[in-house]
């Protein structure tokens, strides 16, 4: 074969997102079987450190689209930039992380290229006539094996925290190819006026490796401090069930589930959460699930790797104290 697998390298606040490195990892794995090489597309003005990191991760060539028009993410113009890149690269497969921006961009790009799209995939394989992915559907109740025909190159987004980040190897560098692109009149009909990141010290639930979540069992907003303390200690984030969000205790940004965020952290600790199917939809692909609930019959225990039947107001503070001792 010898084509390129193209990865969109997403940059947030000047640094490469971990989920994009995971996508590079997945691309390298596919490429090692097919004989393709791995390339990345970088849009916007980026710290040179990002180029170094991509090279070390196994990317051979970076297509760079720069310009003030690309300062803010906007799906249509970023898709136009990527389309311009595909004219240089002729990729066999286009990968990106299933982050909020990756999902948005992948759809616009697939429509532009009239290419098959699969979002939020957890496995990807490629052969001469197409790509096969596995992706959760029906809110994770089922898994679909989906066949995407090629050409044109299928566009696939990958669920964060499922694929591993390649070990950086010193000495490898990526060749840089500058690609130019003028946003079309359609792209000019959207203006991003402002991008704001919440300024907490905590990572966002969608990015954290450890998430400590609370539900209706938390009884009130003030009690989320207990979870925040544990989350901070573990370097994680605070999540919530919809009941806690609807009660106004926690902002919707923290909601995990079907109408919240889908996450796959290494550790998910559910406190006072019953485990409704819509909640499980968002967290059941977590690597390790812990449940703390006073009802031994709670549904959450069915998916938990570890559980404590007990009052979270007693159990969580003891856990926190114990972890402090060990640190």
């Amino acid at each position: 074969m010898g084509q390129e697998i193209l990865v969109w390298a997403e940059v947030k606040d000047g640094t490469l997102r971990r989920a994009s490195l995971e996508a590079v990892g997945a691309a390298c794995q596919v490429a090692s079987r097919t004989g393709d090489s791995v390339a990345a597309a970088l849009i916007g003005n980026v710290d040179p450190q990002v180029l170094t990191r991509l090279g070390q991760a196994g990317v051979r060539r970076v297509y760079r689209v720069q310009g003030p028009e690309f300062a803010h993410f906007e799906a249509c113009r970023y898709a136009e930039a990527l389309q311009a890149v595909t004219q240089h690269s002729a990729p066999s497969l286009i990968l990106m992380a299933a982050t909020a921006l990756g999902r948005d961009l992948s759809a616009r790009l697939a429509a532009k290229l009239r290419a098959p799209l699969a979002t939020d995939s957890i496995a990807v394989e490629m052969d001469a006539t197409g790509v096969t992915v596995t992706r959760p559907v029906y809110a994770g109740k089922l898994r679909a094996t989906v066949r995407l025909t090629a050409p044109p190159a299928p566009v696939v987004t990958l669920r964060p925290n499922v694929f591993s980040v390649p070990q950086p190897q010193d000495g490898r560098t990526a060749e840089v190819v500058e690609v130019s692109c003028e946003p079309s009149p359609v792209a000019h009909k959207v203006t991003v006026q402002e991008t704001t990141y919440s300024t907490g010290e905590m990572p966002d639930v969608s990015e954290a490796e450890i998430v400590v979540s609370g539900g209706r069992g938390m009884k009130g907003p003030e009690n989320f401090a207990i979870l925040e303390e544990l989350a901070k200690l573990l370097g994680g984030a605070v999540g919530a069930s919809r009941s806690a969000v609807d009660a106004g205790w926690v902002d919707h940004q923290h909601q995990v589930g079907q109408t919240g965020k889908t996450i796959s952290p290494n550790l998910y600790i559910a406190c006072g959460i019953s485990g409704a199917t819509q909640h499980l939809a968002g967290m059941s692909s977590s690597k390790c699930i812990v449940a703390i609930n006073k009802d031994p019959e709670a549904n959450i225990f069915k998916v938990a790797d570890y559980g404590v039947v007990g009052d979270l107001f007693e159990v969580v503070p003891i856990m926190t104290a114990e972890i402090k001792k060990l640190k």
């Binding site: 799209l117 559907v137 029906y138 679909a144 359609v186 819509q278 699930i289 938990a304 039947v309 007990g310």
Partner: protein
């Protein structure tokens, strides 16, 4: 304002879905209750609020089998004016690109300022049809919107991104996809329910839209559906909080090695 809302009928969020034994690429529909895709309800509600403030007309459109008429009637009962279904009885393997192509053709036949849809359908969880339509009709789009203010010929949107938000201005005509938080969808009033019962639903076929069979050949095909692997039986600790909490920390550290 003329607003088109694109909706999909999907299995209820509580439904226990399982693959159809004779056709493992789709689910067994027997005993399944169908609802309007929850994200689409936010889109319908937003359209009604815009109409209430500025006047106008709301058309709801779907691609689906005859049972999907029920979803359209729910939208009419909420306050949509007209309903249209692109018939999918013959094409059970349409992919999202083909669906969006049919929807774009149908929408192009009517005047509109704004197209609203849900950010994703909760059956295939793809999250792309609204954006596909925007591209096919040559329109701008803003996805995953939690706040929408309509001004003269444009809208100011708040869009969710990981760890933050963007404030985005978009010129009409445009496509906007709705996220939870945009509004609280209303329950249909009795009058609406009566109206919806009698509402004539316009049914179109791909041929009527000038789309040939070959053009609908799916580029992505579900080959198989299966239940995710069951999780191993967990260790559930019972007893005094002191001992269970300490034991849990030990297990997470030494056995699971996650802290």
């Amino acid at each position: 304002m003329n607003i088109v809302v694109v909706v999909k009928q999907v299995p209820d969020t509580e439904a226990a879905v399982r693959p159809d034994a004779s056709a493992p690429w789709r689910i067994n529909e027997s005993g399944i209750k169908f609802i309007v895709n929850p994200y689409d309800e936010f889109a319908v509600e937003e359209a009604i609020r815009i109409k209430e403030a500025k006047g106008g007309h709301i058309l709801v459109v779907t691609v689906g089998p005859p049972r999907a008429d029920e979803a359209l009637r729910t939208c009419v009962a909420m306050g949509a004016d007209d309903a249209m279904r692109i018939d999918d009885t013959q094409h059970r393997e349409l992919d999202a690109l083909s669906c969006a192509q049919l929807l774009s053709k149908a929408i192009a036949q009517t005047p509109f300022d704004l197209i609203l849809c849900g950010k994703q359908a909760i059956d295939d969880d793809l999250g792309a049809v609204g954006t596909f339509i925007a591209e096919f009709l040559g329109l701008p789009h803003v996805a995953v919107v939690t706040k929408l203010e309509v001004a003269d010929g444009k809208a100011i949107c708040r869009k969710e991104i990981d760890g933050g938000t963007q404030k985005v201005e978009v010129q009409f005509p445009a496509v906007i996809t709705a996220q939870k938080g945009l509004n609280e969808p209303r329950y249909p009033a009795l009058r609406g329910l009566m109206l919806a019962k009698k509402k004539e639903i316009k049914v179109l076929t791909p041929a009527m839209l000038g789309v040939a069979e070959e053009e609908l050949k799916p580029l992505s095909r579900v080959q198989n559906l299966e239940a995710p692997p069951a999780r191993g039986k967990g260790k559930i600790l019972q007893g005094e909080p002191e001992s269970t909490a300490v034991e849990l920390v030990r297990l997470l550290r030494e056995e699971a090695k996650v802290i």
